[in-house]
């Protein structure tokens, strides 16, 4: 119990917290008063420790940060270009899909095809580039894997 009182007082001292209870305790406890003085001296000594960064470290850091800033800027610009391409592709794809839909609808009407038939053709035409690209990529991947084994 008594130990708890001293520990409480010393924690308050260490954390720089002031309270009437602590002041009263310090008046009656020589050990905690000594801890108080020691804590103050330690804090002063800690503040007096000279650790400084050299100019070369600061300069090297500034150069490294500037270099990285340039890299990030270049990355950002590339990202913008990708976004613009994506937007353009989406727009063109939208227009193409609308034109293809109208064209197939017109053709279906001209040769008296049932709606599901030309609509299915639309789906096939829409998916065809993706399917062809996927097949080519897969074939290329297989080819590369074969080469790596060699």
């Amino acid at each position: 119990m008594n130990g708890d009182v001293h520990e409480r007082a010393r924690t308050l001292i260490a954390c720089g917290e002031e309270s009437p209870w602590l002041a009263e305790h310090l008046e009656s406890c020589a050990a905690c008063r000594e801890f108080d003085g020691g804590a103050e001296r330690t804090a002063r000594a800690l503040r007096a420790i000279p650790i400084t960064a050299g100019w070369s470290l600061v300069f090297a850091t500034q150069m490294r940060v500037r270099q990285r800033a340039l890299e990030l800027q270049a990355q950002q610009e590339r990202l913008w270009a990708i976004w613009i391409c994506c937007a353009a592709v989406t727009l063109i794809a939208g227009f193409t899909a609308a034109a293809l839909w109208s064209g197939l609808a017109w053709m279906g009407e001209r040769i008296s095809l049932a709606a599901p038939v030309w609509q299915m053709s639309f789906v096939v035409f829409s998916l065809l580039p993706t399917i062809v690209t996927a097949i080519l990529l897969l074939a290329r991947g297989t080819h590369l894997a074969d080469n790596e084994e060699v």
């Binding site: 520990e7 010393r10 924690t11 260490a14 954390c15 720089g16 801890f35 020691g38 804590a39 001296r41 330690t42 804090a43 002063r44 000594a45 800690l46 503040r47 007096a48 420790i49 000279p50 650790i51 400084t52 960064a53 470290l57 600061v58 090297a60 850091t61 500034q62 490294r64 940060v65 500037r66 990285r68 800033a69 990030l72 800027q73």
Partner: protein, 180 residues
């Protein structure tokens, strides 16, 4: 203070290199001092010093200016140190082990000693565990409040208080010269 933080946040969002140059110069000693105490090694502290500023540049947009910049900066430095420790899986030296302490090369901390009392305290600090060193350094060298220390270290307020108290208690013999 709030204006300054807001200005820093604005500059970091723009990745303004001039602002970063200014911040590096402004915080050079404080950040390095914190890192030296956190790592216990000057070379590692200097590496982390550079890494911290690169990270500040990369993550600058996450700083909203509502928090004190110093605390945010130190949190980044601390997280980098933790990441680095995890990556390297360096077995931690027992600071209380005299064999380990004697086998170590003289550190920059030792070279930096000037005053007799500071010398003794430094010797004591090197033998404290990293979390006590960190708490004492943030409290007495950086003058941070207990709440700010809790923010930087991610420890509860009670733990911060206890670390400062235990750290100071552990330094007591060194202050009296009995620890050497």
């Amino acid at each position: 203070m709030a204006d300054e933080s807001a200005e820093i946040a604005q500059g970091l969002r723009r990745r303004d290199p001039d602002l970063l140059d200014r911040l590096i110069e402004q915080y050079q000693h404080r950040l390095l001092r914190y890192l030296v105490h956190l790592t216990g090694r000057r070379e590692l502290a200097e590496d982390l010093f550079q890494e911290t500023w690169v990270r500040v540049l990369e993550r600058g947009r996450q700083y909203d200016g509502r928090r004190d910049f110093t605390a945010w900066l130190f949190t980044i430095a601390r997280n980098l140190f933790i990441d680095q420790q995890r990556r390297r899986q360096v077995p931690s030296e027992d600071p209380a082990d005299p064999d380990t302490a004697a086998a170590r090369q003289p550190s920059a901390l030792e070279l930096a000693m000037q005053h007799e009392q500071s010398e003794r305290i430094l010797a004591g600090m090197e033998r404290l565990s990293a979390e006590y060193r960190e708490a004492l350094s943030l409290r007495f060298q950086e003058g941070m409040s207990l709440e700010e220390i809790a923010g930087v270290t991610g420890a509860p307020l009670g733990t911060v208080k206890s670390r400062i108290y235990r750290g100071l208690s552990a330094l007591e013999p060194w202050l009296k010269g009995a620890g050497l």
